[in-house]
Symmetry: C2
Amino acid sequence: MKLTISRNELNEAVQHVAKAVSARTTIPILSGIKIETSAQGVTLTASDTDISIQSFIPLETADKTIVTIHRSGSVVLPAKFFVEIVRKLPNEEVHLEVGERFQTQITSGAIDIQLVGLDPEEFPVLPVLEEDQVFSIPGDLLKSMIRQTVFAVTTNESTPILTGVLWSLQDGVFKFVATDRHRLATCKIQTDVPEQLRFSNVVISGKTLNELSKIIPDQNTLVDIVVADNQVLFKLGNVLFFTRMLDGTFPDTTKIIPTSFRTELILNTKALSDAIDRAYLLSREEKTNIVRLSTTESGGVEISSSSSELGRVQEQLSVSELRGDPLRIAFNSKYMLDVLKVVDSEKLFIGLTGAMSPIIIKPDHDNSLHLILPYRTTN
Amino acid sequence: MKLTISRNELNEAVQHVAKAVSARTTIPILSGIKIETSAQGVTLTASDTDISIQSFIPLETADKTIVTIHRSGSVVLPAKFFVEIVRKLPNEEVHLEVGERFQTQITSGAIDIQLVGLDPEEFPVLPVLEEDQVFSIPGDLLKSMIRQTVFAVTTNESTPILTGVLWSLQDGVFKFVATDRHRLATCKIQTDVPEQLRFSNVVISGKTLNELSKIIPDQNTLVDIVVADNQVLFKLGNVLFFTRMLDGTFPDTTKIIPTSFRTELILNTKALSDAIDRAYLLSREEKTNIVRLSTTESGGVEISSSSSELGRVQEQLSVSELRGDPLRIAFNSKYMLDVLKVVDSEKLFIGLTGAMSPIIIKPDHDNSLHLILPYRTTN
């Protein structure tokens, strides 16, 4: 393989695929990035077996030549060094030539690098997916749905299925659910996908979704999603992002969401968030992060927390609406702050059915719903 | 004690003194901030016994009232929580009232905080320094001198004196020296301080200087420096910063600095820095970070490094001037990058006396000089 390539495009492709290189793999070939020529351009691939990312660099764009292939071929180069040196090459033009035993020479300006390359035949082959289940959604919407839910996955590896987010598509409704058994985050959108396209129990690792989120461009471009047997493929322009689904059955969470409430509140999101943040400062000194919310006789709410060592914080908050019975409930303030960070409306709804029953938090639209189990205190 | 105080001024003072609160002290009183009223205003103090910071809040500025003291007194409040809650108080006006057994009530807007305070009598008393050795230098100059030298102190606690920077003032020349035995950084300025004001062997901990640097304002204000028996006091407007000197005698480093060279180079600082940065990427995979600099037959230099596992990097660099014998020298590239980061001139001088002798790096003025010992390789 021998080629001349534009540094900026090479760098962009390298940074994309680098996200799939595992930092501590025991399989040497997986610590590399595969570079391969074709008649259309150059393809870079990296994989940690759970996720694989492929980035394609075309020979030219509308106004300039990006790659000139002098001799076709392929090689695997050590990712750790390659990723950083490409970013720092002095010249806009980079020459890459693979010699005997995959010894690779990279030159750019006055710099000359000899890299020990690896045999591309050893690199894992990416799956070829059946593309009958394909649909598109805008990238910023997908990013937002990930953000609304991914914080609620568990980090506890003893329940692997809950380290992922459940995806389903039914009657055109695309829905995400995540839970760690103490809280639940859900988010859905109505798509114009044909009704016959449907799936359920597709569970994708939260870590993978965070990585995916990073490479979705901020501009409003469409992401094609291909759902196959046990793999999901995301097509983002010249970048392909493959991930395995998690094995197992995601628990049915529909039954634990109450539909009617004994106490209903409508509050200003920022005011509530600020007050809980202040109470959290004290509560985190105790290990439980417990903060209390109580309705007051004057028709507002009080947010409070206490620490035996430091003292206590009490704050009065006015509400836009308060319906139903007086109530006092305790919860993990960290969980509540996680929810308040992603609520995207100026006001929010809180629904309560008792001091021992789930707390429901919703923005002023029906696209997302959050649930937090209360903390069972004695007073 | 009972007072009403402006949140912004309180917050600013609290953030300043917070830098002297030790995160893991075993002495409870030192985990607090002392607040004390006087006829002129309110003074906040924190101390970890090595450094102490005092910040004064006056009753009023030219255009507004900042503090109203309803009842004089003092208290010590738990720093960890107090520092963060003050930043997040909802209202511009804060009321603070100390009750029985130092129980302290803080109110601001609709928030009401009860804090367990401590007895201010237990708080260490700050030293009163003899002010016969006082001089002033511009804050940005002091900051720059710290930055030029502090990176070269050792982190190895087995030679405590070398964890500090040596300060001296002789014939109006104010000089800093730091070394970890592998490298040396020096920096000096000519002041207009009277000749009779002189000191030597004042050694101040590098950590302390980093903290001091953070609270020196960016505007070009004068810092008053008071050098007393075993303490140094920095006066920065309303903030007083006390530090103990390190015990011991700083080694004499003047003899190891060569004054004539066999090879002299003048190079572009950024070009050299970029080239060494690229060579460092490969060299850090080996533990030694070794990079080589060699003069070339064409009258330039070559920067190179190699890794048995990954390969090698070679880069040609043109020089502005090259005088003397051809030479090849190896060094720790991390040390060289530390120096190149603080060299503040477009071109720099490198002086060499042999492959086993110290490397001297200087900017194009005489205010600073850096020395790095070479790495003794077999080839």
